[in-house]
């Protein structure tokens, strides 16, 4: 068995397991720029209730965001800390359906505030500026963060990057509505003034489980989007590789694959977190009916 290299892994027997991999972009290496991506994965329990928490972040490359590598590291830390705190405080005291509405109502505000606190502390340590000025811009970063607990998957995203859920039957869900109004390299950021409003959240049933994949935009930017979603092809294929060859082999190969995509295509930093989620044992698997194609049905661009 090849020695696993360059990845982190976390696992909980009932919920599933997660692994992550982050690689410096080919253009960053050439230009001697640091890696500005970060990720974090965590598994733990509060009382007898386990959870898995993940976060990925992409620091902005523009010279105005010169501390964004640190900003990204602080972002993933804040994401996991806020989610595990949320889990600890609520999972045993409130009904699960309320957990979801509380997440939507409170998470964006609280996690943004927590990141700002961490940034303030870091800026103070570096003796950058007094408390009244605004150090956040220099640390600007995106963040995708998710929590898997009991029968629920909670996901939050600010800025670019992708998070998809591949169900056991092969369907790919994109639970976060896409940000359609920005083009080019502009992105929403934790450092944006109204960051607490710019979050997009989703709450899903764990149901039959599946694979949750979160990736920074260096990954999806490497794939041909004109051919109609080669990134989705990559995602499905990645899930198949794990099925065919096992997690250790795939985790061990991931670094090389990401390096190659960066070299050939996007040049950006590449970060991916892969979470395999077990089916929720408390529900009976539903009998699958053959889907009937219906051309008259309203377009699939509608969402509730």
């Amino acid at each position: 068995m090849p020695e696993p290299r360059h990845f982190l892994c976390a696992c909980d027997p009932s919920l599933g397991w997660a692994f992550g991999c982050s690689r410096m972009g080919a253009s960053h290496i050439r230009l001697s720029r640091p890696c500005e991506d970060a990720y974090a994965i965590y598994s733990g329990a509060s009382g007898a209730i386990p959870c898995i928490a993940i976060a990925i972040a992409d620091g902005h490359g523009d010279p105005r965001h010169d501390l964004s590598g640190t900003g990204a590291s602080l972002a993933v830390q804040a994401g996991v800390d806020e989610l595990t705190g949320f889990h600890r405080m609520r999972v045993q005291t409130i009904p699960l359906h309320i957990l979801r509405s509380e997440f939507k109502a409170d998470f964006p505000r609280r996690i943004t505030r927590r990141w700002r606190e961490y940034v303030q502390a870091d800026a103070a340590r570096r003796e950058i500026a007094g408390p009244e000025s605004d150090p956040y811009i220099r640390y600007g970063s995106t963040l995708i963060s998710a929590l898997i607990v009991a029968d629920t998957i909670l996901i939050g995203q600010i800025g670019d990057g992708d998070v998809v859920l591949v169900r056991p039957d092969g369907t790919i869900e994109s639970p976060i509505p896409s940000e359609t109004r920005l083009v080019g390299k502009e992105t929403h950021s934790l450092s944006s003034r109204d960051a607490h409003l710019l979050w997009r959240t989703a709450t899903l049933d764990r149901g039959s489980g599946g694979v949750l994949i979160a990736a920074t935009d260096g990954v999806s930017d490497s794939f041909d989007s004109t051919a109609g979603g080669e990134f989705f092809t990559f995602v499905k294929s990645l899930v198949d590789r794990v099925k065919d060859f096992g997690i250790e082999s795939v985790a061990g190969s991931m670094a090389g694959w990401l390096d190659r995509y960066s070299e050939l295509a996007s040049g950006d930093d590449m970060t991916i977190v892969f979470v395999s989620i077990n089916p929720d044992e408390n529900i009976h698997p539903s009998t699958m009916h053959e889907p009937e194609p219906d051309e008259k049905a309203p377009g699939l661009t509608e969402c509730w």
């Binding site: 405080m89 940000e179 049933d205 529900i283 309203p298 699939l300 661009t301 969402c303 509730w304």
Partner: protein, 450 residues
């Protein structure tokens, strides 16, 4: 157990069969599916097993049989049309109309820039329709119990609203509910366990929702919430129930907005609210907190939003919408800071009082300005429109947008008939008679509003 694609379910009262096309989304109580039946495409909310209780089933059947409140105000509720069941006898759901989610938006989508931000006229329209619909619901003897931004959808362009998740509607003062719901909207007396849901507790929730729509912030999220490191149930009970304090309280600074950048948007948007709107919010969240009889009634909200919508003019430089001050005093554009001219007004004498409409190019006079609309009609039909004069630069007139002629009398005493499609110039002192109602053109700066 969730529904599967292709599964057949039955609408009980009509006896029709529906088949499931695909899942549209998930809520906290269940999933929503697109279905097809003899009436075309509709939606079904399917409860999770733990929510599919006998009480909920009775509640749904009651709502199906009672139907939504009457008229245009009632049609904004996405109401349960029928009980829906599957092969398994224990699970059920309800049938409702489908919502066009390309057109209608939730507040969260506006914040995240996924849908366009409504301008002031649309915001006034959304607010007016909200108050109007909840008034109709309360008049029919019901209370909503679960008013929140999650149940509201609106068209950001026109301001039309839809109210969803009506399965929690209960009879005033007779129904129990779990205290767990969205606590940020709950009246303090419910959180403290001192009262049951009622139309009065709905009034508090309505005020909170309106505040969210205008200020994009919760009325009690200030220093108190900021200093809670652990935002758990006891913390929420304190901030929302035991010691709620308005962030813009005139005298009590205990819960002011912290200096953090996150609060900049709230300060800004509070500044955009005209003074009379700020006054109502202040009353709602000071006196109204502990004395339900001092809460703002739907009628008061309706009158306010109707009046301020009539005080909107477009900035001549950047076209941004601005509220004219009640006194008609000049101000400056919130967007480009250009000074705003004092507008002329149209004053309409009605039995219920006087209406004043600030005039700028594009201003519309609606059916509701000139007549009492029947319940079935929301009075939004355009009766007249202010347009630029084709020959005199800088001048404007009001065009007759109806099918019947108007009578106009000029200050010099001469009269004329204004046929459909023709426009009366904005000559101060001119009166126009439409369906027996007299409208007077008033010059700028002569105190349009009494």
């Amino acid at each position: 157990m969730p529904l599967a694609i292709g599964q057949r379910v039955k609408a009980e009262l009509s006896g029709t069969e529906l088949h499931v096309i695909r899942k549209l989304g998930e809520g906290t109580q269940g999933e929503v599916y697109l279905v097809e039946g003899p009436q075309g495409y509709q939606a079904v909310k399917w409860y999770k097993p733990e929510q599919a209780t006998p009480e909920q089933r009775s509640a749904v059947l009651y709502l199906v049989r009672t139907g939504p409140p009457f008229g245009a105000a009632g049609r904004r509720f996405i109401w349960p049309l029928d009980l829906v069941t599957g092969q398994e006898s224990s699970q059920f759901g309800y049938l409702m109309t489908r919502i066009d989610t390309q057109k209608f938006a939730e507040l969260g989508e506006i914040w995240a820039h996924i849908k366009p931000v409504p301008n002031f006229s649309s915001l006034c329209e959304i607010s007016y329709q909200l108050a109007n619909s909840y008034r109709a619901l309360h008049l029919s003897g019901h209370c909503y119990r679960d008013i929140s931004a999650g149940n509201l959808m609106f068209d950001p362009v026109t301001g039309d609203i839809l109210i969803c998740d009506n399965d929690n509607v209960g009879v005033n003062r007779q129904s129990r509910c779990q205290v767990w719901g969205t606590m940020e909207y709950m009246a303090p007396e419910i959180i403290r366990g001192e009262a049951d849901p009622s139309t009065q507790t709905d009034l508090h929730s309505l005020a909170v929702l309106l505040f969210y729509l205008w200020v994009w912030h919760h009325p009690f999220h200030g220093e108190m919430e900021y200093h809670f490191h652990c935002w758990d149930i006891p913390a929420k009970k304190k901030v929302y129930g035991e010691s709620p304090v308005f962030v813009f309280h005139q005298e009590n600074p205990a819960n002011r907005l912290p200096p953090d950048p996150d609060y900049a948007i709230a300060r800004e948007r509070w500044g955009y609210c005209p003074p009379d709107l700020q006054d109502l919010f202040t009353r709602a969240f000071t006196d109204g907190l502990h004395d339900p009889s001092r809460r703002i009634t739907e009628g008061e909200w309706q009158n306010l939003f109707s009046a301020i919508k009539d005080r909107i003019i477009a900035c001549p430089k950047c076209r941004a919408e601005n509220f004219v001050e009640e006194s008609g005093r000049p101000g400056s554009c919130w967007h480009c800071h250009a000074s705003l001219p004092r507008p002329p007004f149209l004053v309409i004498r009605r039995p219920s009082g006087e209406i004043s409409i600030a005039l700028s190019n594009g201003t519309t006079v609606r059916r509701r300005h000139v007549s009492q609309s029947p319940a079935n009609d929301d009075g939004s039909a355009i009766v007249g429109m202010v347009v630029a004069h084709p020959a005199i630069p800088g001048a404007s007139g009001i065009r007759n947008a109806t099918q019947t002629p108007w009578n106009a009398e000029f200050p010099d005493g001469s009269t004329t008939i204004v046929s459909p499609g023709r426009a009366v110039p904005l000559n101060p002192g001119t009166t126009i008679t439409i369906d027996g109602v007299v409208l007077t053109i008033v010059a700028p700066g002569t105190g349009g509003i009494s």
